[in-house]
Symmetry: C2
Subunit: 528 residues, 2 copies
């Protein structure tokens, strides 16, 4: 801990005296670079006494701003549209209810201890700001296996619709590609841009990497079974010796659904080691709230106007329970309201900022949680955590990485539709129809679904009243045209949130954006 602080202090010193680039270089030397722009919490000099900041939105960006600004001595007030803090950092449990746009209300019936995170649910190992604040706030994390070699890859268009174990798909695709390239390298006159020595090296590498035999063929054998698993398993005592099963057909392996599935599972943001808060993602919000005693937070406050002069900023809001309209005046305003909501609010800001607010559309994923009587995926299929991929609308089945091997009901994610076409089809349905779809598509992979099903919850983010989407979808063009205007301090107003980051939809983006905004704001205040 001492070393860690020393290192950070060193980095701060370098940063202060030599600029960001020198600090980045120093960080790289210390092994920090390439992971995150996060380099420790901000060290803000004491605020001018009585400086008032109003924060709009009590999601993670707003809570972090409140937390750090209060520590520096600012007078902080938060306005929040909902009757709870956290925003998309949100967990549903048995007894909760949720009403979506259109009026459908779902009563969550999960057993005690079971939960569903409709929004963010995972923390990649390189999201160092989230990891830092979880530790600082005493939010326990647990590793959540992502790539489970024994989970399935399912496609309606390959392998006759029969789910295949990921270890077999991955191993056979790698082996087959290695065999094909070895053949090409041996037989063709093709110039591989490699000299003779390298061609030899290539063949040896393909042989080893692909598990090819002495004739550079990828074949079913006890040798390849060491990677892909056995047909007759390795036993003990008087028992049949292990055997290898048939390989998957190359033609099937080359199907787009196959490599699309493998790709989706292995992107940087989905790689192991992944974390989740123990007990639900909203434990992060709970951690912030514990650290913010006597926080001046007004719930059920729908912001309608943000106006400003050179001296101050004024925010008008309605009480959503019909308790009238009120105003808050402050020296500065940090607005974390999502852009597609902010676009509907009257804001006094520069034309470029207002144009930027309206320039970024939102995606709207659909997630369905299903509770089952027992963990049949573990007991019958040997799948402990991780994800099964499918080309159906549900996209994915995510098995709970916690409570493994326990008895009693358990909740899995039965759909996580992220592509526009898929999520729109699900969004158009009633929650009950979404759940039925998750069951109908999921049972093609797990026939146990119907027998073991207890209840479900379905959240389509386009229908979440306080979001109307789940994350900003920045195009390269929009980024180029609008990002600077959106992130710049505009008079007495600065925007923050995951939408003002290069990782929209991720909690890390919200925290990094918030840290950046408060640091720039503090400098401005101190300079003023």
């Amino acid at each position: 801990m001492e070393t860690s602080l020393t290192r950070r202090t060193l980095l701060k010193t370098i940063g202060l005296t030599a600029g960001t680039s020198a600090m980045y270089h120093a960080m790289a030397m210390l092994g920090h670079a390439q992971a995150s722009t996060f380099s420790g919490p901000p060290v803000l000099s004491p605020a001018k006494p009585g400086t008032r900041v109003v924060i709009l939105g009590a999601g993670l960006a707003g809570l972090l701003a409140a937390y750090e600004l209060r520590k520096a001595g600012y007078e902080v007030r938060i306005l929040e549209y909902q009757n709870r803090a956290g925003g998309r950092n949100w967990t549903l449990r048995g007894g909760d209810s949720y009403t979506e746009l259109g009026g459908h209300t779902q009563q969550v019936k999960f057993a005690k201890g079971n939960y569903f995170n409709p929004g963010p649910w995972r923390i990649p190992y390189h999201h160092r700001a989230v990891l830092h604040y979880c530790k600082q706030l005493g939010v326990p994390l647990e590793a959540a296996v992502q790539f489970n070699h024994n989970a399935y890859l399912h496609s309606t268009r390959a392998f006759n619709g029969k789910p295949q174990r990921l270890r077999e798909v991955w191993s056979d695709l790698q082996g087959s590609v290695a065999e094909l390239l070895a053949k090409a390298a041996q037989e063709s006159e093709l110039d591989l841009a490699l000299g003779d020595v390298e061609r030899d090296q290539l063949l040896q590498a393909l042989k080893g990497w692909g598990l090819l035999d002495d004739e550079y063929r990828y074949r079913s054998s006890l040798y390849t079974a060491v990677r892909r698993g056995y047909a007759t398993p390795q036993g003990g005592g008087v028992v049949d010796p292990p055997t290898a099963g048939p390989l998957l057909e190359l033609k099937q392996l080359l199907h787009p659904a196959v490599w699309q599935g493998l790709n989706a599972l292995l992107v940087y943001n989905a790689q192991d080691t992944m974390f989740q808060p123990v007990g639900g993602i909203d434990q992060i919000t709970a951690g912030f709230m514990r650290a913010l005693p006597d926080l001046d937070i007004r719930y059920n406050a729908r912001v309608t106007h943000i106006s400003q002069t050179e001296q101050e900023v004024k925010v008008t809001y309605e009480d959503t329970r019909g308790d009238g309209t009120a105003q808050v005046t402050a020296d500065w305003c940090i607005c974390t309201i999502p852009l597609n909501i902010l676009g509907q609010i009257e804001v006094q800001a520069s034309q470029p900022m207002l144009a930027a607010v309206r320039a970024v559309p939102y995606t709207g994923f659909t997630k369905v949680a299903l509770e089952f009587r027992r963990r049949f995926w573990e007991e019958d299929d040997g799948i402990y955590g991780g994800n099964t991929l499918t080309d159906q609308d549900i996209d994915l089945i995510a098995y709970p990485p916690h409570g493994m091997m326990s008895d009693g009901p358990a909740v899995l994610i039965g759909a996580y539709a992220t592509s526009m076409a898929k999520t729109l089809r699900l969004t158009g349905m009633s929650p009950q129809e979404r759940i039925e779809t998750a069951l109908a598509q999921g049972e093609k992979i797990h026939p146990q679904y119907r027998k073991e099903f207890l209840s479900g919850v379905a959240v389509s983010w386009y229908r979440v009243p306080w979001m109307l989407g789940c994350r900003a979808r920045w195009s390269n063009e929009a980024r180029k045209a609008h990002y600077d205007a959106l992130s710049a301090i505009n008079g007495r107003l600065v925007l923050a949130g995951d939408h003002i980051s290069y990782m929209p939809g991720w909690m890390e983006g919200a925290l990094l954006s918030s840290l950046d905004a408060i640091q720039r704001l503090h400098q401005r205040v101190q300079a003023g």
Copy 2:
């Protein structure tokens, strides 16, 4: 739970009435096949009253035999060479000491709560017997991440000895191979044994799987960075946009150390999801001991003779504390003594069995545990659990998958040498020299080693007095010539243990062998 029992009962019924093949088929239908030969604990009819079984060795095979036979009503006694149960199911903690062959004694100085499993340490998801008994015995398990994309691959012979992140190595090798094959498929007249349609499909698959650009090239870009990670990370607020780093050189990627490393990390027995008992592997032994109250177990008993008549079996043993010699007479004997020890004991058995005992050599891995002041691999390198591979003698650095993000000292595995040459070099050293070697080689990957090091423990299994090796090394020839003779009931003696299985060195092998032995023994007894 009810469903699970019903399924098992069904399988048992099918097995009893229609034979193993029908049961196997039924299991496959239920999704059980291909995972394990384990199909639930044995259901033994009540034993003939007064039937005595002496079990030699209180490792997992012996303990499981005692546990199941006692349930069936047998009178069970165990003789154990050491002064504790568990055998290789062994955990060292602060305060423990260990004296190896040659006389070196190591005092373990680890902080409270830290531990080291010198023998087995991991439970693959397909080792269903171990998983079953852990649950039945109330031994809590936790997932233990194996393939950590952010861990390193290090080779003294590639990348100038600089450790590379596994995600980059793996992604770049896959991308480069895809590019080469795409080039071959496009340019050559080579018959890839694919029609025209398939060639097109191949190109599309290579493009997607390898993350190739529109000209089928694997290049550094924000597109490939989505898998391999960023040079300038994705940030929030006013910050430089993310950038991609340079790719690894193909020539380096093709180095044997590279694919050997990737292969070693991804074999079936090392794939995720992996488990470990919370608090140390010996919690499995503790679970058995809790379930065996009043067990008749004689510790410090060195078996010297096993003789038998048609009526009974007699085992002679010496008290290793000098307390003289004694004999145990029983109706049956289950001997779990490792073959290289058993070969030194006078045993009355058939010539084929005695020949088999002497025909199987043992390997002797070396494992070194290092305790450090802090988790610098997490704090500085962003590596949470998983394994770093190197071609140095230490072979591997395994980061603790438990206690992640905690403060204070932590123990990692600093060497796990399994090849004969590497382990022999380490075995020839004193424990202190092995630890020094682990530090010297490990600091090439983690320069923090020396500064943070507290203490270490090194176990070379050839020097473990009660094992003289760590696991049977079956050749195909030895298996063919001797396995049947070794596993057959020989008069009133039957052998059991991981050495009589197709997975020597694995706890699953010990349990499966033991289950098989007691079931055959029980049938023999009932038939007699």
